[in-house]
C-alpha cells in the first residue's frame, strides 16, 4: 500500500485521515467521504467518477467536488477518481466498521500538460554518435525544480547533476528496462507512444522507488497496463519544424468493464525532416496494445505489447570551417544527391518490440505481490558508408577542406591557390560539399572481378566488386527480465518492499551489406590487415569461411554475441514516526558476461572464435534517507547512497569487434552520493533547494574510431576514470496577480574529472600499440570538466492561465559552462612533446562554449463541447533565432603529425566538431479527447 502512497505524493496534496473513529453503532460496513479539487485552482471538480473496488464496484459522482460512499464493507479498498482533463488517481482507503473515513482533500493534477508532450518528443530526437545522450529524465513530476528543468533545460542537452544517461533508472510495469549493454534509459523503445506511457511515478535523484533501489538520478516507473491508461479516446496531430514535420497519434483505453476486462490501443506516426538541417528525416511508427483482466477481487493479469519502428536519417557534427564554407551552422555531411534525390548514408533503422506480462496479487490487505516478465527483441541498425581501396567518400574528410592547404596546413601542403579552389568548390558545388553518390556508383561499375587477385568461385569477369557500399551495423538484442516483488505493510509505521530482478540478455553485434551501390559483390577480408600484412590467412575476417564473397543482406566484417546474466536482490524499509519519514535500502547483485565470437579472425585465430573468459562482478548498493517535516509547509530531507555497479559490456572490451580481450584490471564502478534538500510550500510561494555531492570512481570506457593517421580502426581503452559532481538546485514558483505565475529553476553544478586515467591504445588489425609506448599511458585530465551538459542552467518564466482555459507562457533560459567532449590523446605526454608553451595550451585546453540565452514561448487553448475536449497548443523555441549556440561538440580523435623537423616530430590537434542549437522552431499540437 505504501507503494501507491508514494505515487500519490507526486500528484496529490492529500492528507489521508483514515483514523478509525469510535464506533457509534456496530455495523459491518462504513462510509467514505471526500472532496475533489483541482490542483492548480483549488476549485471543486464536478462530475468526477469515484469508484471503489469492492465486489460490487460502487460508483458515485462528485457534486460541487464532494462525494460520499455509503455502506461499504469494512476492509482495505482502493478508490479510483477519474475526471475529464485530470490525471486519474487511485488511493487506498481503509473502511472501518460503523465509521466514516474522511479523505479530506483529493487534488487532481491537470492532464493537459502540453509542454510535457513537447518534451516527451525530445526523446525521439536523434541520438547520434559523439556521445549525444538522451535527456536524462522525463517525468510528469510536480516538483518545482524538475517540472521546469525537465522540460526547459533539455533544449541544450542538459543532464541532471551532470550524470550519464545510464544513472536514470526506468521501469515499465515494475520491470527494469534500462539497456543491458549500455545501461542507457530505454525511452526510444516507446517513442511516439506518449499517451500510452503517460502514467508515470517518479522518484528524483537519490530517492528510492517502490520498484527498486535506483541509482543517483531518479527512478521512473511507467504504468502501462490497460487499466492504468486513461480511459477514453485521444487523438492528436502535430505540425512542427524542430524534429519532424508531422505527428499523428491515436489512443484508446477502455477502462475496466464489469467483467474485469480492460484494454488499450495506441498507434502513431512521425514523418518528415526539420526546417533547419537538410538530409534528416523521420519515418517512424508506433503501436501499442494492452489487455488486462481482473481475475478476481485480489488479482490481475495484464499482457502488453508495443513497438516503435523508426527509420531516422541523421545529422553529423562538423567543423566550424565546414559550417562557414556553406554559410550555415546546420551543415550536415551525412547526405548527398543520388539521381537528384537526397540520400542520407547514416540511417537508423530500429524496431525492438517489447512484450510484458504482469501479474499482481493482493495476498491480503497488507501484502501485495507483483510478478513481471518482459521480452525485448528485434533489430537495431545504423548504416554507414564503407569502402575498400578507394577514396574517402565523406565530403568533409579533412583532405577535402581548404584548411588542408591553407595557412594552418603543414608546410609541405601549404598552397593558397588550391585552398582557394577548394573554397570555391565548397561554395558552388553540391558534389563537393555533400556525398557524391553518383560517383560512388561509377567507381563500383568500373571495378571488375580480377581472378589475378585470387580465384573466387561463382564469379566471372563481368562481375563487379563494389569499392563503396552502405553497410548496416546491427546491435540486435534479446532481453528477458523477470521480476518478483513483495510490498508489505509490516506495521502502522513500517513498510517493506523487496524483490528479485533477473535478467538474461543476448546481443548480437554484426554488420550486413545494405547496398552494393551498383556493384555485384563484396569480399569479406580485413583491408587494413591486407595493407599491413598481405598474408592470405591474416587478412581473413573469418578463417572458418575464408575469402567469402558476400552479397546484399549478408553478414560480414564481424559477428559476435555478448551474453549476459544478472540477478539483483533488493529490499527497502520505510519507517515513519511523528514528523520523521525514514528509509533504508539494500541491494546485492551479480552480473556475468562474456563475448561469444562467431568469426575466427585471421589476426587473432586463437582469441576470437567462441567464448571469452566470463567476467563476474558482485555488486551492492546501500541507501538511507530521512525527511523531517517541520510543519505542513516546511520539509527538510537528506539521502546518502553508496552504489557499486558492474561495467557495461560495450565499455569493457579492448576491441570487441575482433577479439576476446577485456580491459585489464576491469572492476566495478563505485558511486558515493549525498544530498540535502529543503522544500517550502505556502500559498504564495513554492520553493525547493537542494545541494548534492557525488563521486564516481573506477569507470572504464572504450572509444573506438577510425584513425586516419594510422588508417585503421583504433581502440582507446581507458580505466580508472574518476569523477566528482557537486552543485546546487533551486526551483521556485510564485503566483502573481491575474492568474500569472512566476517560475524559475536554477541548476548550478561543478562536474570534473578527479583522476588521471590510464589508456591503452590498440589497432583493430593488430595488437600493435598505435602510438609508441601507449600502453598504460596516463591521461592528464584531472580537474578537466565533464562534458555534454551545461553545468549552469537557469530558466525564468511567466505562465498565465485564464479561467477560460487559455494558456500563455514565456520563458528565458540561460546556459553556461558547457564543455567540449575531450580527446584523451591530447592530454598525454606524447602529444605535447616538443611543443612550446602556447602550443601546449592550445592542445590541452578544453573549450568552453559561450554562454547562451534562449527565449521560448507557448500559447494554448482548450474548448469543452459536451463530453468532448479540443485543445490546441503552440510552442515556439529560440524565438530570437540565435543560430550561433553550440549545443554540443567533441574534439576529433586524430592529431596532425608534423615531421618537417625529423628531430622534433610534433602533433597538433584537429579542429573540433560541433552541433548547433536550431534557430526558431515551432511545435503546433491539436488534440481531441473524450
Amino acid at each position: 500500500m505504501k507503494a501507491r502512497l508514494l505515487f500519490f505524493f507526486f500528484f496529490l496534496f492529500t492528507t489521508l485521515n483514515a483514523l478509525a473513529q469510535e464506533p457509534v453503532t456496530q455495523k459491518e460496513t462504513g462510509d467514505v467521504k471526500g472532496k475533489v479539487v483541482a490542483r492548480t485552482t483549488r476549485q471543486p471538480v464536478d462530475g468526477a467518477k469515484i469508484t471503489i473496488n469492492t465486489p460490487q464496484n460502487i460508483v458515485v459522482y462528485t457534486t460541487e467536488g464532494t462525494f460520499e460512499l455509503n455502506d461499504i464493507p469494512a476492509g482495505q479498498w482502493e478508490i479510483s477518481i477519474e475526471a475529464a482533463d485530470y490525471m486519474p488517481v487511485r488511493l487506498p482507503v481503509k473502511v472501518t466498521k460503523s465509521a466514516t473515513t474522511e479523505i479530506q482533500l483529493v487534488t487532481l493534477a491537470p492532464d493537459i500538460t502540453p509542454v510535457a508532450d513537447f518534451a516527451i518528443d525530445e526523446f525521439d530526437s536523434d541520438i547520434d554518435d559523439a556521445g549525444q545522450d538522451l535527456p536524462v529524465t522525463l517525468s510528469a513530476t510536480q516538483d518545482v525544480f524538475e517540472s521546469i528543468a525537465n522540460y526547459k533545460f533539455g533544449i541544450l542537452r542538459f543532464r541532471n547533476r551532470g550524470y550519464d544517461n545510464n544513472t536514470a533508472k526506468v521501469y515499465m510495469n515494475g520491470i527494469y528496462l534500462n539497456d543491458a549493454q549500455s545501461g542507457y534509459s530505454p525511452w526510444s523503445l516507446w517513442g511516439g507512444l506518449n499517451d500510452a506511457v503517460r502514467n508515470q511515478e517518479n522518484s528524483s535523484a537519490l530517492a528510492v522507488s517502490d520498484y527498486g533501489v535506483g541509482s543517483i538520478n531518479g527512478v521512473t516507473q511507467i504504468n502501462a497496463t490497460a487499466s492504468q491508461i486513461r480511459k477514453g479516446l485521444r487523438m492528436s496531430a502535430v505540425n512542427a519544424s524542430g524534429q519532424y514535420l508531422f505527428r499523428g497519434m491515436i489512443t484508446y483505453a477502455s477502462g475496466e468493464n464489469e467483467n474485469g476486462w480492460s484494454y488499450a490501443f495506441s498507434g502513431s506516426t512521425r514523418q518528415g525532416g526539420n526546417f533547419w538541417v537538410k538530409g534528416v528525416d523521420y519515418n517512424a511508427w508506433a503501436y501499442f496494445g494492452s489487455v488486462e483482466k481482473r481475475l478476481n477481487r485480489n488479482s490481475r493479469l495484464a499482457l502488453t505489447f508495443f513497438g516503435s519502428p523508426a527509420i531516422l536519417s541523421t545529422q553529423a557534427a562538423a567543423t566550424q570551417e565546414a559550417f562557414d564554407l556553406v554559410n550555415s551552422n546546420y551543415y550536415n555531411p551525412n547526405w548527398g544527391y543520388q539521381n537528384g534525390e537526397v540520400r542520407n548514408a547514416r540511417v537508423r533503422n530500429n524496431h525492438e518490440p517489447v512484450l510484458l506480462l504482469n501479474y499482481s496479487l493482493d495476498i491480503n490487505p497488507k501484502n501485495k505481490l507483483h510478478i513481471g516478465l518482459s521480452y525485448r527483441f528485434g533489430r537495431n541498425g545504423y548504416s554507414a558508408l564503407n569502402w575498400y581501396d578507394a577514396q574517402d567518400p565523406r565530403p568533409d574528410y579533412y583532405r577535402y577542406l581548404p584548411s588542408y592547404f591553407g595557412d594552418a596546413a603543414t608546410p609541405a601542403n601549404q598552397d593558397m591557390e588550391k585552398a582557394a579552389w577548394l573554397t570555391e568548390s565548397w561554395k558552388s558545388d553540391w558534389n563537393t560539399r555533400q556525398i557524391n553518390w553518383d560517383a560512388l556508383y561509377d567507381v563500383n561499375r568500373r571495378s571488375f572481378y580480377d581472378p589475378a587477385d585470387g580465384v573466387l568461385p561463382g564469379l566471372s569477369l563481368i562481375n563487379r566488386r563494389s569499392k563503396y557500399i552502405v553497410e548496416e551495423r546491427r546491435t540486435d538484442q534479446q532481453d528477458v527480465n523477470f521480476k518478483i516483488q513483495l510490498l508489505s505493510i509490516l506495521s502502522d509505521r513500517l513498510n517493506f518492499s523487496g524483490g528479485l530482478d533477473y535478467r538474461w540478455n543476448q546481443t548480437e553485434y554484426f554488420k550486413v551489406i545494405k547496398d552494393l551501390l551498383g556493384g555485384d559483390y563484396w569480399l569479406d577480408i580485413d583491408q587494413f590487415a591486407e595493407r599491413d600484412f598481405g598474408d592470405s590467412q591474416i587478412i581473413q575476417n573469418d578463417l572458418n569461411h575464408p575469402n567469402r564473397v558476400v552479397y546484399k543482406g549478408d553478414k560480414y566484417g564481424y559477428d559476435y554475441y555478448s551474453r549476459l546474466q544478472s540477478e539483483r536482490l533488493w529490499t527497502i524499509l520505510k519507517y515513519n514516526v511523528g514528523q520523521w519519514e525514514t528509509y533504508g535500502a539494500l541491494e546485492g547483485g551479480h552480473t556475468n558476461f562474456w563475448r561469444d565470437g562467431q568469426y575466427r579472425k585471421g589476426l587473432f585465430p586463437d582469441n576470437s572464435y567462441g567464448k571469452s573468459a566470463p567476467q563476474d562482478f558482485w555488486t551492492y548498493s546501500a541507501k538511507i534517507g530521512a525527511t523531517f517535516k517541520l510543519s505542513g509547509s516546511h520539509r527538510l530531507w537528506a539521502n546518502l547512497a553508496y552504489i557499486t555497479e558492474a561495467p557495461y559490456f560495450q565499455r569493457a572490451m579492448v576491441s570487441p569487434r575482433t577479439r576476446n580481450d577485456f580491459i585489464p584490471g576491469l572492476t566495478t564502478e563505485k558511486t558515493a552520493s549525498a544530498d540535502l534538500n529543503y522544500a517550502l510550500q505556502l500559498p504564495w510561494i513554492k520553493l525547493r533547494v537542494s545541494g548534492y555531492y557525488t563521486t564516481i570512481k573506477d569507470q572504464v570506457d572504450v572509444i573506438s574510431f577510425y584513425d586516419d593517421l594510422n588508417r585503421t580502426f583504433s581502440n582507446f581503452a581507458m580505466r580508472d576514470i574518476d569523477q566528482m559532481h557537486t552543485g546546487l538546485e533551486a526551483g521556485v514558483e510564485v503566483p502573481l496577480l491575474f492568474n500569472i505565475t512566476l517560475k524559475g529553476a536554477l541548476s548550478y553544478g561543478y562536474y570534473i574529472y578527479t583522476s588521471d586515467p590510464n589508456v591503452t591504445i590498440t589497432a583493430d588489425n593488430g595488437s600493435r600499440l598505435i602510438y609508441d609506448n601507449m600502453e598504460n599511458t596516463t591521461i592528464y585530465w584531472k580537474n578537466y570538466k565533464i562534458s555534454g551538459t551545461p553545468q549552469t542552467a537557469l530558466n525564468i518564466g511567466l505562465d498565465y492561465r485564464s479561467p477560460k482555459n487559455l494558456f500563455l507562457g514565456v520563458d528565458l533560459g540561460y546556459y553556461a559552462a558547457n564543455y567540449i567532449s575531450m580527446n584523451p590523446l591530447r592530454r598525454t605526454d606524447a602529444s605535447i612533446k616538443g611543443l612550446n608553451e602556447d602550443q601546449i595550451r592550445a592542445t590541452t585546453r578544453q573549450e568552453m562554449f559561450p554562454d547562451a540565452f534562449i527565449l521560448n514561448a507557448n500559447i494554448g487553448k482548450i474548448w469543452y463541447i459536451g463530453k468532448y475536449m479540443i485543445g490546441v497548443n503552440l510552442d515556439m523555441r529560440n524565438i530570437l533565432n540565435n543560430t550561433h549556440i553550440k549545443s554540443g561538440g567533441y574534439e576529433q580523435m586524430r592529431l596532425t603529425r608534423d615531421n618537417s623537423n625529423p628531430d622534433n616530430i610534433t602533433y597538433s590537434p584537429f579542429d573540433s566538431k560541433y552541433y548547433y542549437l536550431l534557430g526558431t522552431t515551432y511545435y503546433l499540437n491539436v488534440y481531441f479527447r473524450f
Partner: protein
Amino acid sequence: MKSILLSSITLLAFLFAGCEKQYDAPAEQMPVVMQANMTIKELKALYRNAAPTIVNNPGAVVAGKVISTDRYGNFYRTFYIQDETAGIEIKIGTRTLYSTYTIGQEIYIKPHHLCLGDYGQMISLGFTSTNPKYQNSWIDVPMVINNSIFTGEMKAPVAPVEISNTASITADHMGTWVILKNATYKSGGSLTTWAKKNDPNISEDEAAYGEHVFTLSGGGDITVRTSGYAKFADTPLPFAAGAKVNLKGVLTRFNNTFQLVLNTDKDVEVVQ
C-alpha cells in the same frame, strides 16, 4: 466496433513500419567523347626554359590511353597516358585511381592552366607548385580535376613497344608502355625482394624503394625501381643474377638513369 477500428490502426502502423526508402541507381555514366587537337608530344613541347610552364591554351584538348595503375601500390597519386606520339605523367594527386582511370581507358585532358614541370628530365603535367623543390605539384582539387581531366571509352590496352638497347631510347619513349625482352638480371644490391615494406609491428621501420638493374639484350642498363608501398614490395625476386627476364612497365628516367616502373610483378616473366 471501436476496438476493431483501433486494432486495425495499430496493425496498420505495424505494417507500414520498417519500409525503408529505396533509391534508383543512377544511370551509367556515359564515356566522354572529345576531339583531341594537340598531341602529347606537342603538349610536352610547351615546356620551356627548364622552368615550370603554365599551359595557356583554353581550347587545347589532349587525348591518351591510361597505361599505369596504382592498384598494386607501385604508382601513387599519379598515372600515365600515352598517344601515338608520346606519353606523359598526370600528377592528379588523388588516391586509388585505378577504379576511375583504368588501363586502356581513353582520357581527355584540357591542359589550360595546368603546369608542366620537369623532374630528373621527365616532363609531367600537374598543378603549380609552392614548393621550390618541385616544378609542379599534385592537382588534388576535385574541381580542377573535373574541369580538366575527362574519362572516355574503355579500349584495348596499349601494346608495349620493345626496347632492346638503351641507345635506341628517344625522348618520345619516356612515359610510355614498353617491354624489355631477354634482359639479364644484374643486381639489386643486398635486396632479394622488389623493395622493402615497413614492418607494421615496428612503427619506426619505414618502407624503402628497391632498385634492381637489368642489362638489355642489345646493351645498356635499365633500373627497375619499386616503391616500398607496392603490394609486391616484399615478394622475393623469382630469379637470381644472370637470369633472363621479360619485363613490362612504364619507361622513365631520373637524369641519366633509365628506369622501368612495374604496374605489378605479374608483368615479369622469367625466360630462363
